[in-house]
């Protein structure tokens, strides 16, 4: 069996269309993860002891269980509570929750890296907690962790094929459908691999570039 | 008699920085030679090139008549290969400023690892020899300790025993007391003094301990900005240096040390 370029070219447009779903899921997913991750971090940092405890173990739990099972859980369990989620929505929420656990760790590292003197200085200037966070801590904590966030964005992008398990017509699911139609999986699956490779290598290069730029800026 | 170590027109550049700018130095067998000079003058680089940790930019070095960084091939010299460098390295041992003990090995293992794997001695033989050496440096009670449990001075004494365990003909000491707390310098210098007096090894010391250099050296070389400025017996260098720069350096450093 050989790779048929003709067939590959035929199915490419369909796959490129499906890429839209993949990218959309990634974008919505990372937005949700970024917000939810911040909630976890703040809950652990400034919440009352029980809140902090729950947040800490929730993060640990989400991080150490498979995304695929979490996707199933959301998709099949939500209807039992009278909420019907579309496969796409269930997938995006699962991605968002799963990666919020990772981003929460990233934020935490960023906040821990802000020197203690900054907190003390904010206190000495009599800034309230909200102003301390908004004007002093977050502006310093966020830029250094942006590359790490970029890497998790790429990781999430590569996890979107799991949404195929609940029939979201993203890249992999489309390739499987096309493959089943033509009884040829080699070309569609290879193309999916190549598309992922190109996009994630491209984004990784972008992240590295951003990192260098940031480092240069920080040195000035 | 031909010198044991012969260095001819040795230069070394790191990028645009010329660290050594033409060193000529002969060291007879068994000589105790101290190299002094301001930091950044290139003195450590000479030792590192002799240990083959650093490749010279140009020049020639011979040890016991054998070129170090070159191989003889039908009367012409060509760059040394790995095997030649390994064979030459067998004659040289080195002790570092920062000890560089292996943290995951006990003291005994640190001293036996090279005899076992390089000289292929038996376990018993290498341990017997290691214990003798550790006794000599006063650490026979620390055989099973790990480096993290030792003081800086003890670490450096282990490092000396470790280097001696390969029976080198030449020992290089690269600022071996510079990383030590002042109260620990003495114990390391005592070991060096004994070595200098009791052995016929050729010893090259890069040091900032002027009094010690004066006491144990046969000859002192002063280096500045990659060139040998002045050399001679310690009395001459320390009491009546001929060169302006030597005088300035000694005044600065001895002022500090007294």
């Amino acid at each position: 069996m050989t790779f048929e370029w003709q067939f590959a070219l035929e199915v490419l447009p369909q796959l490129l269309l499906a890429l839209r779903v993949t990218v959309l899921a990634t974008v919505f997913g990372i937005l949700l993860a970024a917000i939810l991750g911040l909630v976890w971090t703040l809950a652990r940092r400034i919440g009352a002891a029980p809140v902090a405890f729950v947040a800490r173990y929730s993060v640990e739990f989400v991080r150490s269980t498979p995304l695929l099972v979490q996707i199933y859980f959301l998709f099949y369990v939500a209807p039992e509570f009278g909420i019907t989620l579309s496969p796409f929505l269930a997938g995006v929420i699962a991605l968002g929750i799963h990666y919020s656990a990772y981003l929460s760790e990233v934020y935490r590292a960023g906040i821990d890296a802000v020197p203690k003197g900054q907190w003390e200085a904010a206190k000495a200037l009599n800034l309230g907690p909200a102003d301390t966070w908004r004007r002093v801590i977050i502006p310093q904590a966020l830029p250094p962790v942006l590359p790490a966030m970029g890497n998790y964005l790429i990781a999430m992008f590569k996890d979107t094929p799991m949404l195929s398990a609940i029939t979201v017509m993203e890249l992999l699911q489309t390739a499987k459908v096309v493959g089943a139609e033509h009884f040829r999986y080699l070309e569609p699956l290879t193309l999916v691999g190549v598309l992922f490779l190109l996009l994630s290598l491209g984004s990784a290069a972008l992240v590295r570039w951003g990192e260098r730029r940031f480092n240069v800026a920080a040195l000035r | 008699m031909a010198p044991y170590i012969a260095i001819r027109n040795l230069t070394k550049s790191f990028g645009k920085l010329d660290v050594l700018r033409g060193i000529d130095l002969d060291v007879p067998q068994g000589e105790k030679l101290s190299i002094i000079g301001p930091s950044g003058s290139g003195k450590s680089t000479i030792l590192r090139i002799l240990m083959t940790l650093e490749r010279p930019t140009s020049g020639e070095i011979a040890i016991d008549g054998e070129p170090l960084w070159h191989m003889r091939n039908n009367g012409t010299l060509r760059p040394a290969n790995k095997r030649h460098l390994r064979a030459m390295r067998a004659k040289v041992g080195m002790v570092f400023q920062h000890f560089n003990l292996f943290p995951h090995m006990t003291v005994l293992k640190n001293v036996t690892v090279a005899p076992r794997h390089v000289l292929r001695l038996s376990r018993e033989e290498s341990e017997f020899r290691a214990i003798q050496l550790l006794e000599k440096v006063g650490l026979s009670e620390k055989l099973t300790a790990h480096p993290a449990q030792l003081s800086g001075g003890q670490k450096q004494r282990v490092a000396i025993a470790r280097a001696l365990a390969l029976y080198p003909k030449i020992m290089l000491f690269d600022e071996v007391t510079s990383a030590l707390d002042p109260e620990l310098v003495g114990e390391v210098l005592n070991v060096l003094r004994d070595l200098a007096q009791e052995t016929d090894m050729t010893m090259l010391l890069v040091t900032h301990e002027m009094r010690f250099a004066r006491e144990i050296s046969d000859r002192v070389v002063f280096i500045d900005q990659g060139l040998i400025i002045e050399q001679g017996p310690p009395e001459a260098i320390f009491s009546e240096p001929a060169e302006m720069r030597t005088r300035e350096f000694l005044r600065a450093i001895l002022g500090e040390q007294s």
Binding site: P66, L68, V69, L201 | -
Partner: protein
């Protein structure tokens, strides 16, 4: 049917999950060392080969890799069982990330260590295995622990290529009983417990090593 009656059925899938985790980890460790060291080699073609492997498997999805090996590879006449496919693909995938861990850990060892080994005239290979690798191993353990959890999680993907692992059993059980919340809840808890055990094990190994070398404080 009570919750407890679900457990035996789910646990029968745990064996498959653990086999894949263990087998995948073995493949990953070997590949990580080979590729990680190859990336540090002085020999260009070796570096290029390792970089190609690492970037390809880090740059694509584990699930896509799994499908490709399962559906596309047989077309070239290479037939592997689903279990073998799972172990090899997950091992290749995590091994690519592990290679970066190995490389980073080896590079993080102080240069003085390899200089001292050179001054003792140890050969290149012995320098690596006697002096550098053991120290690098200690630094690798925390990131390796994270990768092991990632591996455990990614074994759930094999349920999609017909292997009856924990997740696959869970899907079957849900279809049988329609007790979705309980079945999936239990499933998540089992994965969590296995992950906790693995994490604790690696922490213990790390503590043991640094204690043996008396490196208290140095985590």
């Amino acid at each position: 049917m009570s919750l407890f009656e679900f457990i035996p059925s789910l646990l029968s899938g745990l064996g498959v999950t653990l086999t894949l985790t263990g087998g995948g980890a073995l493949v990953a460790v070997v590949l990580a060392w080979l590729a990680g060291l190859a990336r540090l080699s002085h020999f260009g073609p070796l570096r290029l080969a390792a970089a190609t492997y690492v970037e390809t498997f880090r740059g694509t999805s584990a699930l896509v890799q799994l499908y490709w090996f399962f559906y596309a590879l047989p077309l070239f006449g290479i037939e592997l069982s689903a279990t073998a496919t799972g172990i090899i693909v997950l091992g290749l995938n995590i091994g690519a990330y592990g290679a970066e861990v190995v490389r980073g850990a080896v590079l993080s060892i102080d240069r003085g260590q390899s200089e001292a080994a050179a001054a003792l005239n140890l050969s290149n290979l012995k320098r690596l295995w006697i002096v550098i690798a053991p120290q690098a191993l200690l630094r690798m353990l925390p990131p390796a622990g994270n990768l092991l959890i990632e591996l455990l999680k990614s074994t759930a993907l094999v349920s999609l290529i017909t292997l009856n692992d924990l997740t696959f059993r869970g899907m079957l059980l849900r279809a049988e009983t329609l007790r979705t919340v309980e079945v999936f809840g239990l499933l998540l808890i089992i994965y969590f417990c296995v992950a906790q055990v693995l994490t604790l094990g690696l922490h213990a190994a790390e503590r043991r090593l640094s204690k043996a070398w008396h490196l208290e404080g140095a985590r």
